[in-house]
Every structure is written in C-alpha cells, then in structure tokens.
C-alpha cells in the first residue's frame, strides 16, 4: 500500500537522471538543489583528482600550492540539507476530470521527492495543510523516515478550503535548517498573496520550489453546454456557459499562471506547472532536466 505512490516505472525513470545515488560533499543530488554553501559537510572523506568541469570551489588550494596539482576535497557525514514538502490537501485538490485527482498526483510527486531525498540520505519532512496544518512529519534521516513519510502521504485526505496565510505562518516554526522547501498546491489564490505568503520561506536561506498542480480541465476547460458548477471549497454554485469557459476563463487562468511564474521568479523562487494529464515521470524529468541545465 505504501508503495502505491512509488511507481517503479516513475522511479526508474527519474533514477536515470543522476540524482539519487550520489552523496556528495554538498549533500544534494546534482540538479535537485544547489548547495547554499560549499564545504558544508564537517567530515573530510577523501581527495579526488580534479577533472575538467568540477567546481573550483572545492579545490584544496593548500594542496595545490604544495604539489601544483588540483585535488577536490570530498566530505562524508550526516545529511547537510533537508527537504521539506508542503502538501496542499484543500478541497480543490480533490478535483479530477480523469481518473487521477490532483491530490493523488500531488501525493505521487511528494512521494517521489521523499524517496529521492531518502536515497541520498537527505532529511525529508512533510507538512500537510489546507486552512491549517493537518499533519507534520519532522525532517529526519533516521531509520524508517521514508515509511513515516509515505504513511503520512497515504493518510492525507481532501480537507477544507485553501488558506495560505494561516498555515504558512506556522511553517516558520518548522524550518530549523536550511534546505529545500517544495510547495505542492493548486494555488487558488491571488498570485500576490501566494508570493507574499511563500516568499518568507526563502529568507532563512531556503530554496523554494512551487509545484503548481492543475487538472487539464482547469487549464483548458471543454464545456459543450452550459453547466451549473459548484465550488468544491465554498459550495458556491454558478451557471457557466461554454463560450465563457472556452475564452474568458482560459485567458484568466493563463494570466494567473503567468503571474505566478513571473512573480515567483522575481522572488527568487522556482515555479513549475504540472498537468495531471501528463505522466508523472515526464513532468518530473522535465523539471529536473531544466533545473540541471540551469545549475
């Protein structure tokens, strides 16, 4: 059951991205995150001859001065970063126009990231929230952490309405160490509010990644006739016409996505839109490839 969110095909797919196996001095999987500081680990492990392309920040210059040869220091020790996943389980995450709900998709993403972090012995944690914090798994590298994370992911259910403000205040209390904060949500709030709420997570030196999960019917609705829609969070009903859904709504949702992308970029945060109609591995691979190319 716990393995439900760990699709071997997905994992096999993303495992080929040179991410999982490396335990590095910087403590992060290459391409997954950028080390906030070189020489972060405290325990020296070995020297490695410099190869063209290696990061010159890790060259031991004392050795170079003595030997006139470049060698890289490699460290070993406890996890030097943590991965904290913030999983939105508000009611809107329960929407699906296809067999996989947004929440299921988000849980797949969260599980995959937890597995990746666990594989490289990074401390991974999980916060499940809607209008309030529903569940918290403290980041740790202890034995059984992955189990606990997957269990928490498994237990996550669709909650009430979305409120970014309230839970994100509490998030500050959970961030004891710098690391990566991944926010998985459908972000049904004004972009300014979202950025204003999420951005403070960066102030502690964290890298913030926003995974925007949307159903294809939310991105490009296809209504053939007027429908009476009910908001899954507010239970508000509204009669909508196909013409509006096909034109004006699309314009608005596209603008919202664009605004989120722009504002998150300006705020130094990473943003990635994930369409639940796309295979999970495809979405993650795309993101990781982009990230790897960037760094």
């Amino acid at each position: 059951m716990l393995q439900r969110f760990l699709d071997p095909r997905v994992l096999a797919s993303i495992s080929g991205l040179d991410l999982v196996a490396k335990t590095v001095v910087d403590g992060f999987v290459a391409g997954l995150h950028r080390s906030p500081d070189f020489g972060f680990s405290q325990e020296f492990a070995e020297y490695r001859a410099y190869s063209q392309g290696d990061d010159l920040r890790h060259v031991d210059w004392n050795v170079f001065a003595r030997t006139e040869r470049c060698y890289l220091k490699r460290y070993r020790g406890e996890t030097n970063s943590q991965l904290l996943i913030l999983l939105d389980t508000s009611a809107s995450m329960g929407y699906a126009s296809q067999p996989v709900t947004k929440l299921d998709y988000a849980r797949f993403v969260a599980a995959s990231l937890c597995y990746m972090a666990n594989g490289q012995r990074d401390a991974a944690g999980l916060i499940i929230f809607d209008e309030d914090v529903k569940n918290y798994v403290q980041p740790s590298t202890r034995q059984g952490q992955l189990f606990r994370l997957l269990h928490a992911i498994e237990k996550a259910e669709v909650g009430t309405h979305t409120d970014f403000t309230k839970p994100f205040i509490h998030f500050q209390n959970f961030l004891h160490r710098r690391g990566i904060v991944v926010v998985i949500s459908d972000f049904y709030e004004q972009p300014e509010v979202i950025i204003r709420t999420v951005e403070p997570l960066r102030y502690h030196g964290n890298e913030v990644i926003m995974f925007h999960i949307l159903d294809p019917q939310e991105i490009a609705p296809r209504f053939r006739e007027p429908l009476l829609l009910e908001d899954m969070e507010t239970q508000t009903k509204m009669e909508v016409s196909p013409e509006y859904a096909n034109h004006e709504y699309r314009r608005r949702i596209d603008a919202h996505i664009e605004a989120l992308r722009d504002q998150s970029k300006r705020a130094g945060m990473d943003y990635f839109l994930m369409d639940t109609s796309r295979p999970l591995d495809e979405g993650l691979r795309e993101y990781l490839a982009v990230r790897q190319g960037r760094y």
Partner: protein, 669 residues
C-alpha cells in the same frame, strides 16, 4: 389554398428532431463540482438567457427548415378570387355601371375614380375603350390608347334611371372580343346588383380571350324602402274622387313604419302611416284624390330614411275629362235592352261613357262623330240616310255594335255589316230547349275578361253568315254568337241575340256587365294602356291613321325627344329617363306619361362571389349553364417561393450553426 401532393406534409413531423435536440435535451441542472470558481464571473455569464436565445433561434430556423421543406414537397397552391391580369398586348375595356342604383351615395363617382386608376395598367401598345351600361351599352370613347381621351370618356358618364343588364354588357364584350382580335381585359365597375343578372345564365357567357375583372363598389346589401307601385286610373271621367293605391316595399329591411304622402300637382293631398313588415310590402290607400280637369302630375312619397332616397318618389299622371257619349238606337217599344245596356255601361264610378238613347225615328239629324260608338238594338228598319251615315261613320273610324233579335231577323241583310241573315232560331224556355255559349275566343277584347258564359241560356239567336268577319263566340249548335268585322277605319261588332233578357238571360248574369264594359272600351278605343311606364320601355306614338303625321314629344327636361324626321316617322319612342313625357298628337290630343325607374333597381342585394366566379369562368368554356364552381379556377402554385424561403432559412441556419461550432471547435485546440 390547397396542396397538390398533401402526403408530403407528413414530413412536418421531422420538426420533432430539432425540438428534441434543443429543448428535450435539457441543460444539466445537477451541479458539477469544480475545483474553484475563482476565475468565473457571475456578472458576465450569470444569465445565459441570451445564449439560450441563440439556441432558440437556431431551433426556430431548423424547425422552419423542416416545415418549409415539407410544404414545398406538398406543392401548395392557391385559388385566387381575383383573375390574373393579361400580360402582353391587350384590349382594355372599362365598363361602368350607370344604372339607377348607382345613384346611391357616391357609387358612380367611385366607379369613375377606380376606372381612371385602372388606366394605369394601360401599356403603350394596348388599346382601351370606355363603356357605360344600364339597360343598354353606350360607347363613351373610341378604341384608343390616349389616356386623356379615355379619362374624358369616363368623366362624361352621368347617372341614368335605367335598369342595369349584365347580359347586355356580356353581349357587347363578346362583340368587342370578336372585332379586337386580341385578348380583352374587361374591368367592370358596378355595385354588382343581383337584379342585373339575366334569368338565363347563358346570356352572361364570355368569349374565349376575355378576362373579366370585377370591381365591386358594394360590400354588403343595404336596406332600402321604396314606393314600388302606384295604382291610379290614367283617365278619369266626370266628377268624383279617385282611388289611389300605393305599394310600399322594403328590401333587406326590418319591420318599420313609413309615412306615405300623396301629392298632386305639387301639393300634398293626404298622408298616412303604414307598417312595412320585414323585407315585405304594405299598401297605402287614398280615397280622396280629386284631380281637376285636364292632365295632372302626381307623386307618392315616403320618408324612407335609407341611403337611397332616389326611389322614395313614384310619379303618376291622371287625366280628368267628361265621359264620352254612346248612341243607343232602338225601336220605341224596346226599353228593356236600353235599360240593361245602360245600366251595365254606366255601372261603376269611373265609367267613361254616357249613353244617349234614340229611336230609329230620331236618327235623322244625329251627328255621329261625337259618339264613341253606336249601338243598334234589334232594329228592323232604319232610314236609309242613317245607314249611310253609319257606314261613313264606321269607315271613318267609328264603331258599331249591332244586336240581332226578332225584328232584325226579318231583314235579309245586316245593315253596315253587310252579311246575310240565314235564319232566326228559337228555343223553348222549358226543359233543355236553349242554347249555350259553347265556345269563346278569349283573345277577343269583348270576351277576354268577361269570364265564362256557361250558365247563359240563349233561347233565340239569329244565324248570320260570318263571311270575312271574325267569330268571337259560338253557341252550342255552332251558331256564331259574336262576330267582328273591320270596315274601313272602324269596326262592326254583331251580337246574334238581344240585350233584353228575352231572347236570352244574359243581362242577369254576372258576365254581362264586363262584356258590355269591355265591348264599350274596345269599340270606343279606350286607352287601356298602363298608367305608368318604366324607364326603358317604349311608348307607341301612332296608329295606322296617324302615319306621316307629326307627333311632338317633350322629355322630362322639357326638350324635344324626337328629331324632325322621327316626329313624322317614329312608331314608338323609348322612355329613357324618369319623369313626365308630354305627347302632342296630330288631332290635338295631349298625353301626359309618367315614367319611373324599374323598382328592381331598388333591391340592393349584391351578386354572390360564386356567381361572379362562374361568370368569369365562362370565358374558359365552363359555367355557361351555371355548372362548375370555384374549383374550376386554375390553381396558382407557389412551391418555388417556398423553396426560396428554404434556401434563405438554410443559409441563416448554417451561419448561426457555424458560429456555435466555432466555439466548440476551439475546444479541441
């Protein structure tokens, strides 16, 4: 309207398809959960009624498409009550009804106005002619395409007092069609009065190539009261009051009381009210008319209060003069015949004769010219000069009645009559030994209205050789009883029995008085013609004696009605107008004739549309005997109009449907 292939109308059921698509497939009212309505606006899209309106419009167009297609395949047609105008070169005839009934309101003026308007349909290569018709058809213009001339002909039409005749118009149209040798478009402007139809529908027959286009000026039957007839003696003799009987008729009227006024020479004589039953008649009788001597002009008027006052007055004329004298010659001993004959002749208040009796001895110096006729009652012998005088009198136009009895039978020859007496037959008074009048020539004026003589017993009759005379009555043994012979300008009537109630009991029978009256009128040439004439009838102007003599006739306007040549030659004159005609005869006699419009023009009932349609159809060879009906008109199909509508609706449906499809198509992007 109808359909040539009505089964295709079943295709209208296919309209259920768009109805099902648009309406039965109802919009979902079950709320569909959606993650967030954050990007939906209630204001913009709250009401999708305008969207529904577009769908409803599409539904209407699609439904109309199915219906029109079914209609087109059903091949609809209409039968137009109005005939189709002729395209191409044609002869346009504008026939305007100017009969008496067209005087009602402004009908004639409207007819003329519509005729002028019809001239707009005259093309450059067409020809036209203006007619007016009542009892006769009058050409008011030449055959021309000069619109000004035709308009002038129309404006020249005046109302008449004639009775209209559609049969005369049809005959004229046939003649025009035959001479024109091109299609004739006949525009009829009339109030379509039913009384103008002939008794034989075949008289309305139109020739092939004639298109009749009626323009009715009356939409419904208007109620109308009229003085239908006035009975008053044309000649009154002597003093005394005259009885006048007026008939008041209502056509299409309710029960009403009308005031009837008797006028004479412009003055009111009497007035009384009568109650006229619904659509019926009432009689008003006046007993106190005392016309002065000479010719008198009279009227009977009513206060009809209807829309046609022209027929509320009926004209009559009364001529009062002294009675005419009749000479009764008898032998001195025979007073009975004189008594019976005088009594019978002078019976009635209006007897125009006065009997002068004379014996044969007193006939020596009698001037016969002043007598209307002479009666010889069983004369055995008379002075020779008297017989000569009688003969001259008769030859000159006088009349003689000879009664034969025992005294006359002694002669061998009837004086003046100049036929032989064969024998005198006697029958006993008892048993069956008497004769009866077995045969009567009812065409003879003396016998015609005298009734039957079966009960009259003739005990004695003189058998006379009829010779060349006309036998008007015979006894049961074939003995001629009444003989009539023309002698010069006069006539001699022989009665083979007496008037003394001895040779027969004729004087005590009811038939005796009318026999004497009629014989007296016949012999005295009393003018028993109708007192009143109708417009369009003919008045005889002269007899054989007056050939070549000049007769002057003044019409109601006081103008000469005859030309100089006609005054000497015309046998009769057509009374064309209502009013009083004065006839001045050569012998100085003056005659006043009252002429009234035919009261059939007062019945304003209009011709049914079906009859008009039949009349129009006679040009196509059907309906000449009144058969056929409205269905004989060629139907006008209009399926191609419907197909044009299908095309238009199809284009509109495609455009509107495309618009909706474009919205759906963008979903696939």
């Amino acid at each position: 309207m109808g359909f040539l292939t009505p089964w295709f109308l079943a295709g209208v059921a296919a309209v259920g398809l768009p109805v099902w698509l648009h309406l039965l497939k109802k919009h979902r009212n079950v709320p569909q959960p959606f993650s967030s309505l954050m990007f939906f606006e209630r204001r913009t899209q709250s009401s999708i009624k305008h969207r529904r309106l577009q769908y409803l419009l599409l539904l209407a167009l699609r439904s109309a498409l199915f219906i029109l297609l079914a209609l087109a395949f059903a091949d609809p047609f209409i039968r137009s009550d109005k005939p189709q105008a002729i395209h191409g070169r044609k002869m346009m005839v504008l026939a305007i009804d100017d009969s008496f009934s067209m005087r009602q309101g402004d009908r004639l003026q409207r007819a003329k106005d519509e005729a002028v308007a019809a001239l707009r349909g005259l093309n450059s290569d067409d020809r036209a002619q203006v007619l007016s018709f009542g009892a006769q058809v009058r050409m008011m213009s030449d055959v021309t395409n000069d619109a000004a001339g035709l308009r002038a002909g129309i404006q020249a039409i005046k109302p008449t007092d004639e009775r209209g005749s559609f049969a005369e118009l049809s005959r004229t149209l046939r003649s025009i069609a035959q001479s024109a040798k091109m299609p004739v478009e006949a525009h009829l402007f009339s109030d379509m009065q039913k009384s103008e139809l002939p008794s034989n529908f075949a008289d309305l027959r139109l020739a092939e190539g004639i298109v009749l286009m009626p323009h009715s000026l009356a939409r419904k039957r208007d109620p109308n009261f009229t003085v239908e007839n006035v009975q008053v003696p044309r000649h009154v003799y002597g003093g005394g009051k005259v009885r006048v009987q007026a008939t008041i008729a209502g056509f299409g009227t309710e029960r009403a009381t009308r005031r009837v006024t008797l006028m004479l020479n412009g003055r009111e004589v009497d007035s009384k009210s009568v109650e006229v039953p619904p659509n019926g008649r009432a009689t008003a009788e006046f007993m106190n008319l005392e016309p002065p001597y000479g010719f008198n002009k009279g009227e009977v008027r009513i206060d009809s209060g209807d829309s046609f006052p022209a027929d509320d007055t009926y004209l009559y004329s009364v001529d009062r003069s002294d009675p005419r004298n009749v000479l009764f010659v008898h032998n001195g001993t025979d007073q009975r015949a004189l008594l019976y004959f005088r009594t019978a002749l002078e019976s009635g208040n209006e007897s125009e004769f006065h009997l002068d009796a004379a014996t044969t001895d007193q006939t020596g110096n009698i001037g016969l010219s002043k007598y209307a006729f002479v009666v010889l009652s069983d004369i055995a012998a008379m002075p020779g000069n008297f017989e000569n005088s009688l003969r001259e009198y008769v030859r000159g136009g006088g009349s003689l009645l000879i009664a034969l009895g025992r005294a006359a039978a002694a002669r061998t020859r009837i004086p003046v009559f100049d036929e032989m007496i064969r024998e005198s037959r006697y029958s006993g008074r008892e048993g069956e030994r008497f004769q009866t009048a077995a045969w009567l020539d009812t065409a003879h004026p003396s016998v015609g209205k005298a009734g039957e003589w079966e009960d009259v017993k003739f005990y004695q009759a003189v058998k006379v050789d009829p010779g060349k005379s006309r036998v008007a009555a015979r006894l049961s043994d074939e003995t001629p009883l009444l003989l009539d012979k023309q002698l010069g300008e006069g006539r001699v009537l022989v009665f083979a029995s007496t008037f003394d109630n001895i040779s027969n009991d004729f004087p005590i029978h009811a038939s005796f008085v009318p026999f004497v009256e009629q014989t007296a009128q016949y012999l005295g040439r009393v003018d028993n013609r109708q007192a009143n004439f109708l417009v369009g009838s003919y008045l005889e102007l002269r007899n054989a004696k007056e050939q070549g003599a000049s007769i002057e006739v003044l019409d109601p306007k006081g103008e000469r009605a005859l030309s100089l040549e006609e005054a000497t030659k015309a046998q009769s004159i057509r009374l064309a107008s209502a009013g009083y005609y004065e006839v001045h005869r050569p012998n100085g006699r003056k005659e006043l004739v009252a002429v009234n419009p035919d009261r059939q023009e007062s019945d304003l009932d209009i011709v049914p549309q079906e009859t008009l349609t039949l009349w129009e159809n006679t040009a196509h060879g059907v309906g000449s005997s009144g058969e056929g009906g409205a269905g004989d008109r060629k139907p006008r199909e209009f399926w191609w109009y419907v197909m044009l509508a299908v095309l238009a609706v199809g284009i509109a449906e495609s455009l509107l449907g495309n618009r909706h499809l474009a919205v759906e198509g963008s979903d696939k992007d």
